[in-house]
Amino acid sequence: MITFKGVHKWFKKLHVLNDINLHITPGEVLVVCGPSGSGKSTLIRTINQLEPINDGSLIVDGMDLSDKKTDLNKLRAEVGFVFQQFNLYPHLSVIGNITLAPTKIRNIPKKEAEEQAMALLTRVGLAEKRDAYPLQLSGGQQQRVAIARALAMKPRIMLFDEPTSALDPEMIGEVLAVMKDLALSGMTMVVVTHEMGFAREVAHRVVFMDNGVILEEAPPEDFFMRPQHERAKQFLRQLLTPMQCECP
């Protein structure tokens, strides 16, 4: 479904992705974690080409992204993206946010798109908010609308870039529940997150990155119980017991 082969990316002199090789199969849920600045957000953003790659090959859903002729708009319509800061369209109501892309890109009639949107809103538990505006909603509600908006395009892959990092602790659960439900439905998902509970319970595989390199790639039980690299061990220790950080 998604294949990275020897992918490199630089921001000026900074080597943000260093020889990434990764294969994601249909229906797989992959969690990407690592310290900040490790390149995990850049990695997920290359999958829908919000960040272009400088070297190597990247094939997403049969489309070769290093080929200049690949229609990026077509690719992006097939790949849902959920942002840390939700990025809902503030000038449109909830239902307007969800139906915009289906009606304008897929040319689905408005009525049909609205019925679909209502089904999705019901699925994320926000049917009664259809006419609300984004800024009237809590962070957790906004993120659930953002997930419904991405799903409305019937994507074949869903990407999540730290979807719960901007949320109050009380709201993280409702978003993770929606994501878990989606994973169980068989969606191919790549999730950048620090929610280790979610990784342990839902992910099929966990990737640990540091300095643009994939250091570990393992099923969650192996990653959490038997991390191989010292950097990964340190990361997990700090994540699980942040008060005992080994600060210099």
């Binding site: 829908n48 919000l50 708009n73 077509k74 992006r76 319509a77 097939e78 790949v79 993206f81 942002f83 800061q85 990025n87 809902l88 369209y89 503030p90 000038h91 449109l92 915009l100 892309a101 304008k104 890109i105 505006y133 984004p134 800024l135 009237q136 908006r149 991405a150 395009m153």
Partner: protein, 235 residues
Amino acid sequence: MLNYTFNWSIITSGQYFDWLVTGLLTTLKLSAVSIVLAFVLGLLIAVMRMGHNRPFRWFAHVYLEFFRNTPLLVQIFFWYFGSYKILPTFINDWLNETGFEFAAAAIALTIYTSAFIAEDIRSGVLSIPKEQMEAARSAGFSYLRSMQYIILPQAVRITIPPLVNQFLNVAKNSSLAMTIGVMEMTYQARQVESYTFRGFEAFTAATVVYLALSIIITALVNIYNEKVLNAHKAA
């Protein structure tokens, strides 16, 4: 001491009243045409200025600098006296039949104002967080479509206060059209004064009309902002 007796009836009835009314109608027509065209053209120039196409960007840049930095009166004279020499005959003939003065004034007002509107819209677009463009692009919208559905509707909303200013400027600047013989409000007020020596009454009438026009434009835009754009909800 003041030995001038006001005679308001001269402008509230009869022939002179009719002149002022036709002047008002011409001012309304000229302002409305120029506002609509300047807004559309301003949007277009703003998009060109911010787009990725180099020749378009360059053209928009020159356009903005040129028309913002030359006096409107000179531009009106240019279109009225200058363009006549370079336009093909059939266009001149057509313009003569449809009212060349009006067309020249409308073109000058439109182009002049569009440059200011483009800059206002551009600063509105620049104030929209870049994540909005990312969200739109990641949904599969092209750059232009993202602008059309996501960025510009938000930018225009932010731009409404400066846009109102530009619309008011059009209504007031339209009075310069009298210099090339467009029979608008100021022209007619001047006519009334010439015929009656009632300058105070005539220009008071013109002043009141411009003031009322400005207040009505402001009110209309505010109503549009509240009712149609739901500004209070979308913040």
